[in-house]
Subunit: 453 residues, 2 copies
């Protein structure tokens, strides 16, 4: 007895229905990216470890999947090295390639490597799997797809607008109500500056985020616990008290941050972006949200996050602006802005809200039963004509029992069954059964094609 | 100075134009598979090594990319084990996962794992990359895509027909002339049987293959060198002398193999398949070809190979029937038949014959220049309407010099440029420049949308 085979934990197989649903998500995102003139690229699953190491922090280095060198890899190690059994140190001798951990670092490497062939501003998108040796848990996988779009080589806020337009269009196509949350790293830096706590940006945003839940007194207590001085906490009060519409909030911020150069830069960017958004007729809800602290270690301007309004789940899309994408590969001065759709979470939301179009799960429209050789010979040209007319058709391959063939059609949820038996062969018509209504009609080949087309 | 980044040898980046061409290939294959009712699945890039090892021969085991275990993997090894420095033996302690080497073994694993959920006959297709630690060389990569379709759980030759139909349709869509070569493993077994050399199938097919090039005398000499007896070589002569149309060849074979049960089985299968092919109106050339020795270690019936007629390159698609797909995972009795399109070679042929549709390389139809804030504000709703009409549009994000913006449009080969300057702003019209003819016309927003739609 051989053990039932399985797959590595944290990875997934996708059965036909799941694959069809996932394709619907990828295809929708892809077509909106294309509508905005983004060009698709692909990079290899494996990158040199020298490209990947040190780009995701110490924890990230550990979470990289590393490829064991081929051939007699052990001969590269001395006895002394081996006996240290130092897994971290020996990795560099046993492995020189790793699996892609995200799409951003390979993209930065790509931009540097092909910078002579690329036309800037470069608008690229990339939809490929990435791998992380995270501890698997509900909703977190070791292999998952990222769907990134970035614009590199332009500082204009029209790029941020474009990403909001893309988000608006993608979720409109999905039929999902969402809120786009916008923040700006420079505003957070300005706040930290005016209260004199430059290194406490994260603590401050986390505290602001809890305001609704725990109230102002608890927030202030928590800030003091984190080491903020009484003066700093006091200076933060007008910000914690801010409310109202996006414009009101931004105007208040302009007042509060008037003495911080970087803060005012952020305020101006936010103002410009909101006026562009108004101008461009964005349909979905857009909020200025100071609690967005996403990617503070690399974003330098706008920060973007998208929340589903009708389903409880984390951020379903995120992105932002970074000032120096390629510096780590020796090319400075290329700034960019990008977003990434979280396909796995979007999948869960569409499932939860039952928003998949019905058409995507069964593509086969009609199956021809197989009642014998002559009947099949009669069916073949009809099947061919149907396919030429763009109708997805199956012909049951074995002359199995009628009931078995009908059972297959039923299990596969194929909407129509075409039956050519002896009497149909004589009269030259085909019996077409509508599997939803149970109705059966006799049609000539031409009528059948006209009906199913 | 940081070294210019690179990617592992044998892997590739795909720039926008290459990606667009590759997508054209994948999308075409995919839509033909769907038209025939095949359902797409996906499996993880990583499989357990226990799933992969021993399935591709000893050489295949070496060519698997293995993933180094995470965490403190060294602690699993004793000092004695380490000091053996036996790379082959230690691999099983350092690694428990490997990268997918083909799509067939993961598919077999999938069929066994989900057999309770699958409706048989199961028609699945799968388009995913595979990885092999082969020595990289021209046209051979360490990461490449396979595009497989298989039908599992049916012995009918209608399945073979269906695969030939798919090949016919795919290459018709590509505008490529091809020849489908068909053979049958049982015929080869029959030949080996009647000449009394059961273990020399491969040598015999290789020799037959050389007939045109080196002539009958040299072929016979080579067969004797390979250890065939004089009697065997003499018995092979009628087969070497076979010629004529497919039907004639098969009829001759029926004569020659009449005393071999397995041989006659193969002849009958071939006859049935060719009569189905005639019946179904296959357009491309189809040849019976005894020299096909593809996959003799796993194919048990029909063998399929496709050659491009107008371009010198190896087989561009191949497949065949196997009697026991899943036996290796403990489930016997599931036979199947499948094909795999060689996307990389098809890419080369389409390039060589210049067969790509022009439309695929630049999707952006029009770019709006950016001549200032007011002009952009005027452009935004027009851009939105165009995209709603399905036209791919870019808006140049920076108010850069006119020449620079035109240069970008030109480099990107965008066919139309929309210009909104001060005079256009006053008159409410948009100047549209046709980049092919150089012609420029003034249009209202409505006229522009109507023209580009």
């Amino acid at each position: 007895m051989i053990a039932k085979p399985s797959i590595p934990k944290g990875t997934r197989d996708f059965l036909p229905e799941e694959t069809a649903k996932r394709n619907y998500i990828f295809d929708t995102i892809k077509s909106v990216y294309s509508l905005h003139g983004f060009q698709q690229i692909e990079t290899p699953a494996m990158e040199n470890l020298s490209t990947l190491m040190g780009k995701y922090g110490e924890e990230g280095d550990k979470l990289l999947f590393k490829i064991l060198n081929s051939g007699d890899y052990m001969s590269a190690l001395t006895d002394d090295e081996l006996l240290t059994k130092n897994s971290v140190k020996l990795t560099s001798k046993l492995s020189e390639k790793g699996l892609r951990y995200d799409l951003t670092v390979p993209f930065a490497r790509f931009v540097v490597q092909y910078r002579d062939q690329i036309k800037f501003p470069f608008r690229r998108f990339q939809i490929q799997p990435v791998w992380r040796a995270d501890r698997p848990q509900k909703g977190r996988y070791r292999e998952f797809y990222q769907c990134d779009a970035d614009i590199v080589g332009s500082d204009s806020l029209l790029n941020e607008l474009e990403l909001v337009q893309i988000i608006d269009e993608v979720f409109a196509r999905f039929g999902m109500r969402v809120a786009v949350k916008l923040n700006n790293r420079k505003i957070l830096a300005g706040i930290a500056e005016i209260i004199g706590e430059n290194d406490k940006i994260v603590d401050i945003t986390v505290a602001i985020d809890k305001l609704d839940k725990i109230g102002i007194d608890n927030v202030n207590a928590e800030l003091r616990e984190k080491g903020l001085s009484d003066t700093a906490v006091a200076k933060l009060q007008p910000i914690l008290a801010m409310s109202g519409a996006n414009k009101d909030k931004i105007n208040e911020l302009a007042q509060i941050l008037k003495d911080s150069e970087i803060g005012m830069k952020g305020v101006n960017e936010m103002q410009t972006l909101f006026s562009l958004i108004e101008n461009a007729g964005i349909q979905c809800q857009v909020d200025a949200d100071l609690t967005l602290a996403r990617g503070l270690n690399y974003y330098t301007g706008t920060i973007i996050e998208v929340k589903a309004l009708d389903f409880e789940i984390g951020s379903i899309t995120g992105g932002g602006r970074y000032d120096n994408l390629t510096g780590v590969f020796g090319v400075d001065g290329l700034s960019g802005v990008g977003i990434s759709f979280g396909a796995d979470r979007i999948y869960d939301v569409l499932n939860g809200l039952n928003l998949y179009p019905e058409s995507i799960t069964c593509q086969t429209k009609v199956i021809f039963l197989n009642l014998g050789e002559k009947e099949v010979a009669f069916a073949l040209p009809v099947v061919k004509s149907l396919r030429q007319a763009g109708v997805a058709v199956e012909l049951y391959a074995d002359a199995a029992k009628f009931k078995k063939q009908m059972g297959y059609a039923n299990d596969r949820k194929i909407p129509y069954v075409a039956i050519i038996g002896e009497s149909e062969l004589q009269s030259g018509v085909i019996a077409l059964k509508d599997m939803t209504t149970g109705e059966q009609t006799n049609l000539t080949a031409e009528e059948l094609i006209a009906k199913l087309q």
